[in-house]
Amino acid sequence: MLYGEAFALTAALLWGVVPILVRKGLPHANVSVGVLDGLFASLPLLVLVFTFYPRSVIHAVAPQAALWFVLAGISGPCLGRLFNYIGVARLGPVKSTPLVNTAPLFTTVFAVLFLGEHITLKILSGILRIVAGAVVLTGQQRG
């Protein structure tokens, strides 16, 4: 179980660095170019994965699964990244990041609607605390 949590925390740590880098780049360029640059910079990494991964994509991934992955890619690395960069450009990393971190609330709603997952009291409590934290941080920054 800790294995999954380590993955989640690694993702959170890496995503925590992104707004800082974006903010550093923004005075010199606009958001649209920044997103495109970031996506292109990732392509060599993807080529390496596709080349050295032990199984070929065609054999390992079913077409229906690929469709879901494509939709996940469009929603996250494409739209999510674009709006995240716009948020950082207009609000700054300190103000935008707590708001972005309310994503678990939306993920939970979608998980209940589309995956039929059940919310336990523990999960609900965690989500409410995340959202409350974001509200408190945003309120403090306004004040």
Binding site: V18, G25, W68, F69, A111
Partner: protein, 92 residues
């Protein structure tokens, strides 16, 4: 401003759900993440050049290019543990 925040939250919200639906069918988090990023690169590049700000790309200062490139790479690397986390999480 509020609209952009809401869009960002709504765009990110379904991402793990879509990834999980894909992982239910093919249990390949690494390849799934790669497919998603390639798709997003194709869609965004098409949008970028059709919407017209192509000339900004030529004028991009090297310093900004490094920052955005690094931000993109870090975001991409972060997607792999995210997909792997969905993969190891218990079924509903």
């Amino acid at each position: 401003m509020c609209f952009i925040r809401c869009l960002r939250r709504c765009a990110t919200g379904p991402n793990p759900i879509l990834a999980k639906l894909g992982l239910h069918l093919s249990n390949e988090p690494v390849l799934g993440a790669c497919i998603g990023i390639v798709a997003s690169a194709i869609v965004y590049t098409t949008y970028f050049f059709l919407s017209g700000p192509g000339h900004y790309l030529v004028a991009l200062p090297r310093q900004a290019g490094w920052y955005f490139g690094l931000a993109g790479m870090v975001s991409t690397v972060a997607i792999f543990p995210c997909f792997s986390r969905l993969n190891v999480s218990p079924p509903p």
